[in-house]
């Protein structure tokens, strides 16, 4: 087949026009949809550890359909920084919502739940790991959260409180740094690792597959969850109703049922 120069030129012009069109279309699209929010829907970005509690709360939430998206809190914060705007951002710490608040991306955050970092082991894993001290063992494998993910940062804080030799030996046994707490739970329930640092609520939510080993009181980090309405939310009222329910009502009950503590109460 012979392609004439004219046809090539035509194609090039078309291509250029289309690229221009698609770019300008994206620009105008944002403006037209930003105001026309759907009040029947609340979009919630939440920490992976909130999965069970918020899914059950979302099912009971009457005034709107709740669309939940779970990931590592730091990933969700990065999405918000990139302009992805859910109505509500619920994180596994207070640091990330506070940062976003300072950057002017969310409204003032509130604390809505507490959790506890524990050392989790597979329930059928024998007694290879029965205490924090066992994590330094020769043949022991560990999964932790990556740096920047709340569960990873809490874990680092715990290890920082240990004698240096011990924390070094524990870190040397780490085989995976997971992007969210769900990844650690998965590795544990699959028996891929012998131990991992997760939240108490994760152990309670694992249907008996995991066993929690409590950390010494002096090492326990304060695990507080913060939630905020995202600035420019499509459904601000729905988001506020969702947050209110987390503080008092169906959401608070779902959190308590799933092993979370009440805010401020410790």
């Amino acid at each position: 087949m012979i392609v004439s120069h004219r046809r090539v030129a035509l194609l090039a012009v078309l291509l250029a026009t289309l690229m221009g069109l698609s770019v300008s279309a994206c620009g105008s699209d944002d403006e037209s949809t930003a105001n026309a929010g759907d009040s029947r829907e609340v979009v919630v970005s939440a920490a992976a550890s909130l999965k069970k509690a918020l899914t059950s709360y979302g099912d009971q939430f009457d005034s709107a359909t709740v669309r939940l998206s779970f990931a590592g809190s730091d990933e969700l914060a990065a999405q918000i920084r990139q302009g992805i705007k859910p109505d509500v951002f619920a994180a596994a710490n207070t640091k990330l919502p506070d940062q976003l608040f300072k950057e002017g991306l969310v409204e003032k955050p509130v604390r809505f739940a507490t959790n506890e970092l524990v050392l989790a082991v597979p329930a059928d894993g024998g007694d290879k790991v029965a205490s924090l001290a066992d994590l330094t063992g020769n043949d022991v494998t560990i999964a932790v959260g990556a740096k920047g993910v709340p569960v990873g940062d809490y874990t680092l804080k715990v290890l920082d409180g240990l004698p240096q030799a011990q924390s070094k030996a524990i870190l040397a046994n780490v085989r995976s740094r997971e992007p969210d707490v769900g990844g650690i739970v998965g590795k544990l329930t699959q028996g891929a690792v012998d131990g991992g640092f997760v939240y108490r609520s994760d152990v309670e939510g694992a249907a008996g597959k995991l066993k929690a080993i409590e950390l010494p009181d002096e090492l326990k980090p304060t695990v507080e969850y913060g939630v905020a309405i995202v600035k420019g939310a499509r459904n601000k009222a729905g988001g506020q109703a969702f947050v209110d329910g987390l503080l008092e009502g169906a959401g608070a009950k779902a959190l308590a049922d799933n092993g979370f503590g009440a805010p401020g109460g410790g």
Binding site: L10, L11, L14, S22, A78, A143, S176, P179
Partner: protein, 267 residues
Amino acid sequence: MSQARWFPPLLAVALAVALSFLTLPIVAIFVDSGPAELLSSLDDAAAIDALTLSLWTSTVALVIIVVVGTPAAYLLATRRFRARNVLITLIELPLVLPPAVAGIGLLAALGPNGLFGQALDDAGIRVVLTTLSVILALTFVAAPFYLRQAEAAFSALDRSWLDASRTLGAGEATTFARVAIPAALPGLIAGLALAWGRALGEFGATLMFAGSFRGVTQTVPLAIYERFATDFTAALGLSAVLVAVSAAILMTVKLATRASPARVLTR
């Protein structure tokens, strides 16, 4: 011609839409991350570890795929038997599987609690969260791309060549090595490029089956994901590097195929 004047422009529009949609994200990566970011991401030791790991694990996976896949595809292409279509479908299945399913499947088969977990443990082989698990994940997701293309390439060969080779006294093995492979080479190389690209881009199955640990299991896509949360600029820079590496592989393969004399032969 006159009754379908609208048709050629329609084709051009379709191509233009496809092109702009497919190139836009890649263009954006390079627009957002200037050469400075690209270079500074190469200055990051963890990124270099990820790149090195990605390159060598995907190379090992590709070697396995080619060594096992080429004769397997040849058999599928040159024999006619009843279960052939079933076998081809089974081999192609991983193509349409979500990576997460691949990850779960690999865990269910080779994980400590999986089908062969106990046997592997007894043999003293630890698969999950090791570099071996990365190679297995890459091989699993990438192999169908090569097998499929290789089967098609062998099927397209002129049967009379293979027959002639045998009539002239060459055995089946010699025919395979000296006639079939050279003649099917462009197709095989195209399959290799696709499989390699898929292996370099593998994310989901690797994360689930192999985890993420610098220098051991953290390939470039996993390193990009980790940076996405903490340092978007670094994530962009590393993405640009991966695009460049993948494009380089694709281009090299295309050029190699063009230069190959086998292409002339098969015509």
